[in-house]
């Protein structure tokens, strides 16, 4: 039987491509919700010893990453009724192509790092690298502010993979603190966005040029 972790990681990689090609915000949110769902259940299949605490922690992560944050952003964009376009600086096809190149490059480079792969999981590091870089790419290449927040979430997913995949040291209470920070961060971003929408009547960050220098 194939390893469930590898299958999950392949799904994550596909979700990256899907996110880079999504033109409409609701579908982008759905893709990120799916990605959060998959990433947060990876630890269950890693073969680590799980005690009650870590199972509860994984479940809470799962709920927050897969449902709470996406739902909150979805409600936020409904309320401000903004344009549903991701409004890219780099086009969707070019983004997709870059995403593919990124995945190939990540897979090609990763073995050179010479890491003690956790139980021979060759896709773990490439996936994490892809998520972080693709997240940063989304932030830089989309003008719509919500798409930027989603890019930030993708980056956080990648970092979560690094944390769960490679180091067992970070205690759960600490991971939980990190999760709460991310949650609060996204919420504050959404609140600011609603105010920006009122002030500028747009969430297009190209209009945020008052303070340009």
């Amino acid at each position: 039987m194939t390893n469930p972790v590898e299958t999950l990681l392949v799904l994550v990689l596909l979700s990256v491509l899907s996110a880079l090609g999504s033109s409409r915000l609701p579908s982008l949110i759905k893709v990120l919700s799916f990605q959060g769902l998959v990433v947060s259940i990876v630890p269950l299949f890693m073969g680590h010893e799980m005690n009650t605490g870590s199972i509860i922690f994984t479940l809470v992560t799962f709920l927050i990453r897969a449902f709470a944050i996406p739902l909150y952003i979805y409600v936020a964009i409904r309320r401000v009724a903004i344009r549903r376009e991701a409004n890219p600086i780099v086009g969707y096809h070019a983004s997709l192509l870059l995403g593919l190149v990124l995945i190939v490059a990540a897979i090609a480079v990763s073995p050179k790092f010479n890491l003690p792969m956790p139980q021979g999981r060759p896709l773990m590091l490439p996936t994490a690298v892809t998520l972080v870089v693709a997240g940063m790419f989304l932030i830089m290449s989309r003008r719509n502010a919500i798409a930027m927040v989603l890019g930030y979430m993708m980056m956080e997913n990648g970092i979560y993979l690094v944390g769960t995949g490679f180091s067992l040291r970070a205690q759960h209470i600490v991971e939980f603190g990190i999760l709460l920070d991310v949650l609060a961060g996204v919420m504050i971003m959404a609140v600011i966005l609603q105010h920006i929408k009122q002030a500028f009547d747009s969430l297009d960050t190209a209009r945020l040029t008052t303070l340009k220098e």
């Binding site: 890491l115 003690p116 972080v132 940063m136 932030i139 502010a145 930027m148 930030y152 980056m155 956080e156 970092i159 690094v162 944390g163 490679f166 180091s167 040291r169 970070a170 600490v174 991971e175 603190g177 990190i178 920070d181 609060a184 961060g185 504050i188 971003m189 600011i192 966005l193 105010h195 920006i196 002030a199 500028f200 960050t205 945020l208 008052t210 303070l211 220098e213």
Partner: protein, 473 residues
């Protein structure tokens, strides 16, 4: 029981959210006083932490903590008068966020665990974001958006860096808590490649928050749009908190014998920040942005001194303390100017010496201090850094540094002369509230006293802090 000093402002802040609008003002001053008292006690007693895995008292943490306490206490006095003079939406929320901000910064100074440090620094971002958009103008929302997004991305990179350092423990087969103190002891056994990678990510991450160029772009916007007491806190202590994260990682690097590697990177980013600040200060048209760029310059100087090590590290610590004292006084004075003239641009001000003579005294002394004139401490700090650079053979760095601070002084003084003596058709005398002048005097006076006479315990603590990165005499 050092956690008490984090809990007190946190609880007070949460309470303040629910208080009637103006009730929180005395609470601010009260908590400021209690916090100052507690940190003085911590300084004298150095008790153990209740959760020793996560928190510990370190010399560099103590230095930052006492600066935070003193600044917050004086700024809270200023804030009570400031809130009278300006109109602010939901003032209880403002005070509450200010106290939570204090709690999060206190947590940064006391955290010993890599991840707790990260959580605390991220918490400072989240707590200060609502403070920046206090005025609810379009520009302030834009500044907040930039601040939260850029700093969150930066701090996400710092998280990655922290995880890489944890990874270097796995690879090196080290079994210890992921704490700065424990890692510094075990440093030689950590895997050097991952430690280096971790340091780079942490430097870029926390460097974003500290305002090192080229990641500084959020800083001038946030500092200029925030209400002046908040700008004073952001510049005076928040940047120090981010520096603390870098400094502690640099300590691990030094213990691992990689101090040259991290030092070179610090020197590079330090010089980049000083040059960037020099470029922008010359053509600056708003005085709060001018001060913000000056903060970038000083953070660059501190990074440079830390990177050079030796005498330079001691100088960097002096700069850290005195920059906080002087720059926060300047931002408070800038707040008076903004209230008095109702004008953000330098061109819209003038004749400060006639219209607000008390503010003028604070402003011009602050300017002298920040430019590195005696009798203020930055003078010694910069002098030591230059000496260390020459002694260490960093001739190019020293030359760039000296040239840049000369350019900055020239640009800065032109603007200050316009603000102080330039033409302005305004009234002869503007009102100056005592509580909005004395905090600046106290801050500058502290810097002056520390220039003339440094208490032995302070000197000792600075030496202890920099000894870990090979600094000192």
């Amino acid at each position: 029981m050092i956690e008490l000093i984090i809990i007190v402002p946190l609880v007070a802040g949460l309470v303040a959210f629910f208080l009637p609008l103006t009730m929180a003002r005395p609470l601010l001053v009260l908590i400021g006083a209690v916090h100052l008292l507690l940190s003085t006690l911590l300084w004298l007693q150095r008790p153990l932490a209740l959760l020793p895995d996560y928190f510990a008292i370190t010399p560099e943490g103590l230095l930052s903590l006492i600066v935070i306490s003193l600044l917050f206490f004086l700024i809270s006095i200023y804030t009570t008068a400031y809130l009278d003079a300006t109109r602010i939406h939901s003032e209880n929320f403002f005070s509450g966020a200010l106290l939570v901000f204090l709690a999060s910064m206190t947590m940064v100074t006391l955290s010993d665990h890599l991840m707790v440090m990260w959580i605390a620094i991220e918490a400072t971002t989240l707590a200060s974001a609502p403070l920046i958009y206090t005025h609810r103008s379009a520009a302030s929302f834009e500044a907040t958006w930039k601040y939260v997004l850029i700093c969150s991305v930066g701090i996400a990179l710092a998280l990655l860096g922290s995880l890489l350092i944890a990874l270097s423990m796995d690879v090196g087969g080290v079994d210890a808590p992921v704490a700065f103190s424990a890692l510094a002891q075990e440093a030689p056994r950590l895997a050097p490649v991952w430690l280096k990678a971790g340091f780079v990510f942490i430097l870029v991450g926390y460097g974003t928050k500290m305002g090192l160029a080229p990641m500084h772009t959020w800083l001038p916007d946030a500092h200029s749009e925030a209400p002046s007491p908040v700008s004073a806190l952001l510049s005076g202590v928040l940047l120090n908190c981010a520096f603390l994260g870098i400094f502690k990682t640099h300590k691990i690097m030094h213990a691992a014998g990689l101090g040259d590697f991290s030092g070179t990177i610090l020197i590079f980013f330090g010089l980049a920040s000083i040059i960037a600040a020099a470029t922008f200060i010359i053509k600056q048209s708003e005085y709060k942005r001018l001060l913000a760029y000056s903060s970038i310059e000083n953070m660059g100087i501190i990074a440079l001194g830390t990177g050079i090590g030796g005498l330079g590290a001691y100088g960097a610590m002096l700069c850290l303390i005195h920059h906080s004292l002087i720059k926060s006084s300047l931002f408070l004075s800038a707040g008076n100017v903004l209230i008095g003239y109702g004008e953000r641009t330098i061109a819209g001000t003038g004749r400060l010496v006639r219209m607000m003579p008390k503010t003028f005294v604070a402003f011009i002394s602050g300017f002298a201090g920040i430019s590195g004139f005696p009798p203020f401490g930055i003078f010694i700090g910069e002098l030591l850094i230059i000496m260390a650079a020459l002694r260490g053979g960093h001739f190019v760095a020293a030359a760039v540094f000296i040239l840049s601070i000369a350019v900055i002084f020239a640009g800065f003084s032109r603007h200050v002369i316009q603000i102080s003596f330039g033409a302005n058709a305004g009234p002869d005398r503007l009102e100056e509230h005592a509580a909005m002048v004395w905090p600046q005097y106290m801050l500058l006076f502290t810097s002056l006293v520390l220039f003339i006479w440094m208490p032995g315990t302070l000197n000792q603590t600075i030496r202890l802090a920099v000894a870990a990165i090979g600094g000192g005499f």
